[in-house]
Subunit: 244 residues, 2 copies
């Protein structure tokens, strides 16, 4: 069995390599890549059965690399290994994982035992496994009162990009008023108003983005990929009617 490790921190990389060969005796070969691009390249080698991937990497991050890898080989088993329990990462992964594909998400702070267990479960058994820390993070009701559904999340991304209501409506195919309703529930769920019990009134749009960031509903990498998606959408929209 041949496993690819994509990790840009050499210490974490060698620790991972250790744990991997300890946990999975069936591994015969380990290859490494130190950023997302290299990772995509290396994953094209024949015989790569499984991948362990860091999420935060300089050039191309883990989720983007995973997207291209999965688009080429949808049955690849990928284990994500990350410092942070941001909900944004989980959403990002959920958007790119093919159906019936095994993947996992463990934190770097997890114990060696849990890491080894997860590696076996995902890479060998083909399970789907997400560190319970990550789910717990999201559900703490004091900070994030309710989960955002997909449509709300989409609007949140557009808001975060700075689109105005009209544009969001066009992009998401809703009416203007519906967009505003989504925003309303976003403000509610993100706790925008709860901060102004102190009697101060604030800019809800910006505050929503602020709250989304500090609650880890989105993060800066999310913003960057969302910007790329927006650019694609924009060129797709710019064909006919070259007016003004």
């Amino acid at each position: 069995m041949k496993v690819l490790i994509v990790e840009d921190d050499q210490f974490h990389g060698s620790y991972l390599q250790d744990a991997l060969s300890e946990a999975l005796p069936e591994v015969t070969e380990i290859i490494s890549a130190s950023d997302g691009l290299e990772g995509e390249e290396a994953a094209r080698q024949p015989g790569v059965d499984a991948i362990v991937m860091d999420l935060q990497m300089a050039d191309r991050n883990g989720i983007e690399a995973a997207r291209t890898i999965w688009s080429e080989r949808p049955d690849s088993r990928i284990m994500f290994w990350s410092n942070y329990a941001d909900e944004a990462y989980l959403r990002g992964i959920a958007k790119v994982v093919p159906p019936d594909t095994a993947y996992g998400y463990v934190l770097k702070t997890a114990s060696r035992e849990r890491l080894k267990l997860s590696l076996r479960a995902v890479l060998i058994e083909g399970q789907i496994m997400v560190d319970r820390e990550i789910h717990r993070q999201q559900n703490r009701g004091d900070i994030q009162r309710a989960r955002l559904d997909d449509s709300e999340y989409a609007v949140l991304m557009d808001l975060a990009l700075g689109l105005q209501d009209r544009l969001i409506a066009e992009r998401r195919g809703m009416s203007l008023r519906t967009v505003q309703n989504r925003l309303l529930s976003l403000y509610e769920k993100l706790g925008v108003d709860s901060d102004l019990d102190a009697g101060l009134t604030l800019n809800k749009r910006v505050r929503a983005l602020h709250r989304a960031l500090v609650t880890r509903a989105i993060n800066v990498e999310t913003l960057e990929t969302a910007q790329r998606d927006l650019n694609e959408w924009l060129v797709g929209r710019a064909s006919p009617g070259r007016r003004s």
Copy 2:
């Protein structure tokens, strides 16, 4: 010589310990802390001459820890050691470093040689030393067209918190129109308009925050500490004139 290492990643911690004792033969004792709070505590021990501090830590981050340490012992020499070259960190450090105090900022991606050199320069020689990568990051004119001055930065933080113009004016002691002028130049410097050459008009406030984040002018930790500062200011404002 007694040195304190504050670092929550054990691998990086032991690497640092190695490099430290290699680079500084005069070190006789190394003590460790694994988060900001522990670090503050440990720094109170007698005889701690120098500190190496990670910036990203779970509970209390490196800058906050440095602030309390410096407030107790302003002559402490602190070397910051970080994964990211965010301008936000540099600004945060600049705000808390006492005058005539030695400090340094190196990236974790720096070579072992450069790390050792910086350690000597800062902890032994008492120099101020900032990794050139960090300055380079900020000055790339394609992304960030011009540096923000302190007043603009302050307004940017308030904007990021979701304050509206009136509040910012009150907090910073400017007129409403002046605040708006600051915002104008922020929009300019952050490149808010440059994105809308594609002909799309967007919400400048939110877009400014977006740009500030992706250009690393600010980051999420900045937002969190700014929120705390805001809360302090709010309670300080709430005493007399209980009007409406």
